[in-house]
Symmetry: C2
Subunit: 228 residues, 2 copies
């Protein structure tokens, strides 16, 4: 019998590659997409396409209105998504697109589903090297979350169940992720990366996420099927 | 200026007493109620009454469909809420009303709001002594969450901000909580405890939560204004 895995799926390059890794590892996949009051729906459409393409066992979409809290350019309409930044500027500090405690919220929900399913694996496509500077993408955070999960759950306390948090991309560059995706047969044309898309989900080409994606494809020596 | 505090408010006795503690400590209160696909709306009505009674600065109500995950008698329609159990039976193991990773999800959301607000205090009315056996109500879990929160957030990493998680009820019996509430002037008539209320939110009187509430009032030598 296949082992169950909960895979956090945003619809971007990273989470899609992560899902492909879980698929390759032979897991039965439960994809979890969390809409958190982002400004755009293009990511959600991408996540649905990807879950379908990988024939996941189930795709759960949870809506949580983190916009009620504000504090991020991704959830607060009054804050602007930074555009046209140099890599040097991106490497400096934590950007305005940081969403307070986002990955703690995401992993908590993945943990809840994993325990309900008895799934021993959680996959999250975090990446500590892509200039993001997000605190909740670092290995130390992930290890601490695993520690917490053993105290937080019935299975962890009784010893009957535990989940490992897999972060297969955590030490890869964007180009490395794209190359890995190519080896795994990821169809990057159905992914979505832009923080601030225009009509029909068209990427802006100037936010950090678009710029890092373009740089990744260039370094991997490939053309991005979305932007050509 | 008052220090800000995020208070998790379910509408029950414990969270209301916890809110009264935060109020007494002189905080500006941001009450956070999370509806997670419970079967009943009576708790939410109670939470709204209580937030109003304490004139909190803001009351955020987040809806998260944890019922999509199942795994608990509180979120899964196919599971029954245990009724008429003896205290001995309640003291044995983790009950069917355990919601997988619930307090991890709740504290993550409180952390997200606290960081967005710059609030240095989070209050949660967990209790390790009330026969519940819930793993995520124990001091070790709370301390581990505080550790995680420092790695998980921008403020924690830069050192500019951190939140303390207050659990003023963690070592109190239900009777102790009721006595504390009396000293703080808590109006227990507007709280709601039942896991499985009937029409109009009337408590069933037989679930663990009703039985522990009744025992608490009895031991405190007081009448429960709800059941008389």
């Amino acid at each position: 019998m296949k082992e169950k895995a909960v895979v956090l799926l945003s619809g971007g390059l990273d989470s899609t590659t992560c899902l492909a890794m879980a698929d390759r590892a032979g897991h039965e996949i439960y994809a979890l997409t969390i809409r958190y009051g982002q400004r755009h729906a293009a990511e959600l459409r991408a996540a649905k396409r990807i879950a379908k393409a990988y024939r996941v066992k189930r795709h759960a979409v949870l809506h949580i209105d983190l916009a009620a809290f504000g504090g991020s350019a991704l959830t607060d309409r009054h804050q602007m998504v930074p555009k046209g930044r140099s890599l040097k500027a991106m490497g400096r500090g934590i950007p305005a697109t940081y969403v307070p405690a986002r990955n703690t919220v995401f992993l908590s929900l993945a943990l809840a589903w994993a325990e309900a399913l008895g799934a021993g694996h959680i996959y999250i496509g975090v990446n500590a090297l892509d200039y993001s500077g997000y605190p909740d993408c670092r290995p130390a955070f992930i290890r601490q979350f695993e520690r917490l999960s053993r105290l937080a759950t019935k299975g962890g306390v009784t010893g009957a169940w535990r989940a490992r948090v897999h972060t297969p991309l955590i030490r890869l560059s964007k180009a490395g992720i794209i190359r890995l995706g190519r080896r795994l047969g990821v169809d990057t044309s159905i992914t979505h990366s832009c923080y601030d898309p225009g009509k029909g989900g068209r990427p802006c080409g100037r936010c950090d996420s678009c710029l890092l994606r373009a740089k990744g494809f260039k370094e991997a020596g490939m053309a991005d099927p979305i932007t050509g």
